[in-house]
Symmetry: C2
Subunit: 244 residues, 2 copies
């Protein structure tokens, strides 16, 4: 059974303030929680049905486990469709990627929609990008909607918030940025090393950030839509980098 | 002022049943409504602020216009952030695309999430695809969440619901389908004519539909994510077709 105090704690972790205060975030649903077991995140506590425990006895053997009914779980979490498992997990402080890494790093400037951030983390994972550098005003990676949209990829992709302009000013590798009027990405030489910057859907890449961009790139349009959302643009751009 | 009966009508149009009954759907927000003005949709009525009227006098000259306050608009619509304009628009009955068109047609099998459908319509518009054929259980194109996610592209891309297997059985052009285990899309000859089928995120393309697919294609993975969501996959696949 989930106690009143535990429900209060779980509910509070929907807010960034309390995630910071407790150093915890919530992971909901079988797919996301199972990915946790093989990650280096530290699980604080798991609330789950007995049948979930029966399915993952080894993984849960060292975990503080609380048995709960599907109804309790649906009520305690932020997603009413999740009635299997909620994990409380310790947040972590990550260091920025080393400067001028010999691989691709994704950088996000003001991507504030949690669904978009989560989708971009999943995409990064698909394309083998292990590190995302995000401006301070991006959505919080520990937001339940972000975690949910990653479909488990939050376990493999590190997201660090920082002053993006300051980070980019340290890079001597190519810094690519997505603009509506840049060089046709199909005709651009795309390096396997460097930073790819995506801006917010409403404002694009900020001036203070764009001054550090060495290659402005654009996805050619064949129709009349004015723009693509940032997750779509990210998907297409990463595919162009990797297929090259 | 928006009357009680008008609010009741607007609210009811969030549901498919009432959209069907009234033959109307709602379009909210400046961007989407302005796109309507240059489309061949028939506007039934517009509720908007006086300043919206002042901005688009010519476009609204022949329209049944009701002045409303921002508060009224935010309350009447399904998006509390929209306090500028709500249009009631007549739904339309579209014919299926001709068989074996000399261009690309997008086909969707069971894409039930409105955000994904709206995003795919926007993507189709970006890549110059004018027609989408959708299985009967896809999200309704007139759902307010779909319209919103299209960012105006619903005005340029025609979506027709039909029995997808029956439609595909009529095609002699290539029928491509996205599968997790198909031919590497980078190495596939992609025609400028044919049908591209995307399945639902949870179940993929149904067996009855997949039997009509002549080319199974796959987006190569470079990392560990198990899958991409259908809108992401659509973005990458359309880009591969068009860049070819």
């Amino acid at each position: 059974m989930i106690t009143k105090n535990q429900i209060k704690l779980i509910n509070s972790l929907a807010q960034k303030k309390y995630r910071k205060q407790h150093g915890l975030f919530i992971v909901q649903g079988e797919k996301n929680v199972v990915e946790l077991f093989s990650s280096n995140f530290e699980i604080h506590q798991v609330f789950a049905t007995e049948s979930f425990l029966a399915k993952y006895p080894a993984e849960l053997s060292t975990t503080h486990f609380v048995a709960a009914s599907p109804e309790e779980l649906a009520k305690a979490g932020t997603f009413s469709t999740n009635n299997t498992v909620i994990a409380l997990v310790k947040t972590r402080q990550l260091a920025l990627p080393e400067n001028n890494l010999n691989e691709l790093v994704l950088a996000l400037d003001g991507v504030s929609d949690p669904g978009n951030l989560g989708t971009l983390i999943r995409l990064a994972d698909w394309y083998g990008i292990k590190q995302i550098v995000a401006s301070e005003d991006c959505a919080d990676v520990y937001n339940p909607k972000v975690i949910s949209a990653t479909m488990g990829s939050f376990c493999r992709v590190e997201v660090v918030n920082t002053d993006l302009a300051a980070y980019l000013s340290q890079q001597t590798v190519p810094v690519y940025g997505a603009f509506l009027e840049g060089e046709n990405i199909y005709q651009t030489t795309l390096s396997s090393q460097g930073v790819i910057v995506l801006g917010s859907e409403s404002h694009g890449i900020r001036d203070e950030v764009s001054s550090f961009i060495s290659h402005k790139i654009t996805i050619p349009s064949f129709g009349q839509a004015e723009s693509l959302n940032v997750a779509m643009a990210g998907a297409i751009i990463l595919d162009n980098f990797k297929r090259a």
